[in-house]
Amino acid sequence: MAAREEDKAMAGLLRRSLAQDAGAGSGPGDCPEPEILAAYFDHSLDAEETARYDLHFSRCSVCREQLAAMARASSVGDADVAEKKTAGAWGWLTGPRWLMPAAAMLVTLLAITGIALRMRRPVAPTNEVAMARPDAVQPVNSAPVTTPAPPTNSVPSPEAALSSGAASSAPRAMDSIAAPPSAPSASRPDAAGAPVAPSESTPSRELGAGLPPRRVSHANTATRGGELSRVGVVGGSGGKSAAAPVMQAQAQKPASQASPGIVRGTMQARNGVGAASGSGSGAGGGAVNSADQTVTATEAAPPLSGVEAAKIAPEKKVEAYSGQSDAQLSVEAETAPQPNARKARSSATTSGAAAPTQSAKAMNLAASQTMEAAALAKMQQAQISSNLMNLQIQTPDSKILWMITGADAIEKSEDGGATWKLEYLETHARIIAGSAPSVKTCWLVGEGGTILRTTNGAHWKTIKPPEETVFVRVEAADALTATVTALDGRRFSTSDGGKSWNSVK
């Protein structure tokens, strides 16, 4: 740990320890009156008294608080003096009389020049704005620009952060009742209404993590107790998610709006559903990540027949849609008043599951509630790969769980998996396994010699690895002691928090 951090730790400790000593050693009755405090403050007590009260004050937080308040009161007076001094320092401005007209001249000159410059390109600013909007240079703009696009959209107002998602997902739900669900509809240019990573719902993200007809995706809901699917979380981070290859339906949207985003899929193996995610591949690192996840998920779900899943998908679709809008916008009940919305929400919500021709197996799977039970059984039978199991890290407390959800993120649940909170890690290497010896302590290992550890359940520290290799397994006994296993089977252990590593035979 850096010396600075130790200082910080020490500062915290001192703060706590010193604050505790209220009246220690001397009862409150011994606290001096304001007259004495004032005399002490003015340094007009004699040496013996001063020493006596020093001792008292050093132990008595009540008196210290009063002295501190006095210090603040008198430092205001000092500040006033300082202010006057500053004013004096600026006195030169008003000093020489001739400076005033000179300054006035200068200001006038500048103003004239400024006006002249503006005159030379009078329409430029407006143009810039006009061009900027379709380009969506500013992520904020993209919401108002795109929301009017859906013909059925009745809520064009961009004011509420969620409302663009709400407005567009609700009409879409209607659409899908009327129209064949599989028909790719070009009239849905905007991609709002996609599931959003927990606690990350900004309009632009909803737009980005769009919902084109052939999207392979995921869904995310608040999962309940024994419920299976926390399926995938797709959240474009950084504003606009890309979805370049998949979202062809978005073609009529300016391309620049779909900028690199990070699509993150999450998986939960706890209930045995290897539900899938992965979608909208963004440019950049996010793409790799989501691709990864998709593969894993698909592999994990081989026992389930895609055909079966697809059969169920259309029926579930309506429900899923409404559920989705409900889940996303618990605020606006009026947009999705279907009675089954709640039910849908409790189940996995899915979207864009429409086209059976699209390989959306894993997602369909997640969508169908009936499938889930079967999936559970089958998954258990098939003994999902230990890799997938490892995505979730148990702690001694069954309520507290970690889940590896992406290259640079981990999720934590403090209620046994019902809700998850995303935390970002300071690494871009893929995390492969983890181990949590206590509730607050957790070790993570992964590619590129990545070893991370937290001792407070929140902040992660990079541990120097024994070597830059791929670690696939870690077993930690506590915050200092752990054994990591490399891909090639070699094992290393540490008993000093990773300062030194020993090879284990």
């Binding site: 209220a22 004495i36 210290r64 603040r72 007076g77 001792t455 008993s495």
Partner: protein, 362 residues
């Protein structure tokens, strides 16, 4: 007669001289005898306190008693009244053996802020001119100080609440009692006013803290648990072990025993080291870390330049760390890695905020 019976420390001549030096305007109608009484009270307070440092009887009640005795003294023309007798009775027992010598008293009286004392005295008497002067001179300062202490909105209220008391709307046994009667002249009047504001403010905060329900839910329970531990502590353990205890008990609520064990060890070691600190060093630390004062403010309090404060704080911090680490290595046999882990744990959120949980308990 310089030293009249029943412990008259200040002669009327000294009082008259000082009153002249104070330059109090004539319309304040201050008599030398009245001023002498005020001086007398201040002297009694000062030397009585020094003689009987342990007793807390010199609290608020003592001063008005002395004053009322003094004024009745003046009205009855010098002969010691019954009130005077009762006043001098209690301190005399302690004073008899340590009767301050005349020189010390003279030096003390000379050190007093005579002008401020005269103003306080005249205001206490209810003199309109003095009161006007006080209002003109000190009101802006009171408001400013109030705001600095209690914040923008509460500050004005805090300052306003003083006026009634200063003016003496409060009646004690049919007599008008002014807050000014407590002023001893040992500090500037401004500082004294600040001190009173500060006292009222801190009292108010602490009272509010005591009565306000603890945060609901988990935090509340933990704080409650902490208070329980604290009350256990006040029954008398050594501070070092008791704070370790309180941490150990917090370990019950927090499900990470390893972490709490380390924290407890670290905390115990630190408490021991802090207990051994010089009062001044400890004070500086507390001002800095607990009260959050600036270096300049601390300097004002301890009478040092802020650069000195900074240097000394740094030195104390270094010293503490050295001693704590030494203790942990030698007594607890912690390795360097474990020590570092201690710090790491300490840096993070604690199970709950001891500062907040413990302060209302005292």
């Amino acid at each position: 007669m310089p030293s009249s019976p029943a412990g008259q420390f200040v002669s009327i001549d000294v009082a008259r001289d000082l009153l002249q030096k104070a330059g109090a305007p004539a319309e304040w109608n201050l008599t030398a005898e009245r001023f002498r009484c005020v001086l007398e009270r201040s002297v009694v307070h000062r030397f009585h306190c020094a003689a009987a440092s342990a007793s807390s009887s010199s609290s608020r009640n003592a001063a008005p008693m002395a004053d009322s005795a003094g004024s009745s003294d003046a009205s009855s023309g010098g002969s010691p009244s019954a009130a005077h007798e009762t006043r001098s009775a209690s301190p005399s027992s302690t004073r008899s053996d340590t009767d301050p010598d005349a020189r010390a008293i003279q030096a003390y009286v000379d050190s007093l802020h005579a002008a401020d004392l005269a103003l306080a005295c005249a205001c206490s008497e209810g003199n309109a001119a003095a009161w006007d002067f006080f209002m003109a001179r000190y009101r802006p300062e009171l408001y400013r100080a109030g705001r600095a202490i209690a914040g923008e909105s509460a500050g004005r209220e805090l300052a306003d609440s003083l006026y009634a008391e200063l003016y003496g709307l409060r009646q004690v046994e049919g007599q008008r009692k002014s807050l000014f009667d407590y002023f001893l002249g040992r500090s500037k009047l401004t500082t004294w006013l600040h001190a009173i504001l500060a006292q009222r403010h801190v009292d108010g905060i602490r009272r509010a803290r005591r009565t306000e329900p603890l945060e609901e839910g988990e935090a509340g329970e933990q704080a409650y648990a902490a208070q329980q531990t604290f009350s256990g502590r006040s029954t008398g353990n050594a501070p070092a072990t008791s704070s370790a205890n309180s941490l150990a008990s917090s370990a019950v609520s927090s499900p990470d025993p390893d972490r709490n064990r380390y924290l407890a060890i670290l905390q115990a070691a630190l408490t021991a080291v802090l207990d051994a600190l010089e009062p001044r060093d400890r004070l500086r630390l507390a001002y800095y870390y607990v009260e959050g004062l600036t270096l300049a403010e601390i300097g004002r309090l301890v009478g040092e330049h802020e650069a000195t404060v900074s240097r000394k704080l740094e030195r104390t911090r270094r010293e503490i760390r050295k001693r704590v680490e030494g203790a942990l290595r030698q007594e607890k046999k912690l390795s360097a890695a474990q020590l570092q882990l201690c710090y790491e744990y300490a840096q993070e959120e604690w199970p709950f905020d001891l500062t907040r949980a413990l302060s209302p308990g005292e």
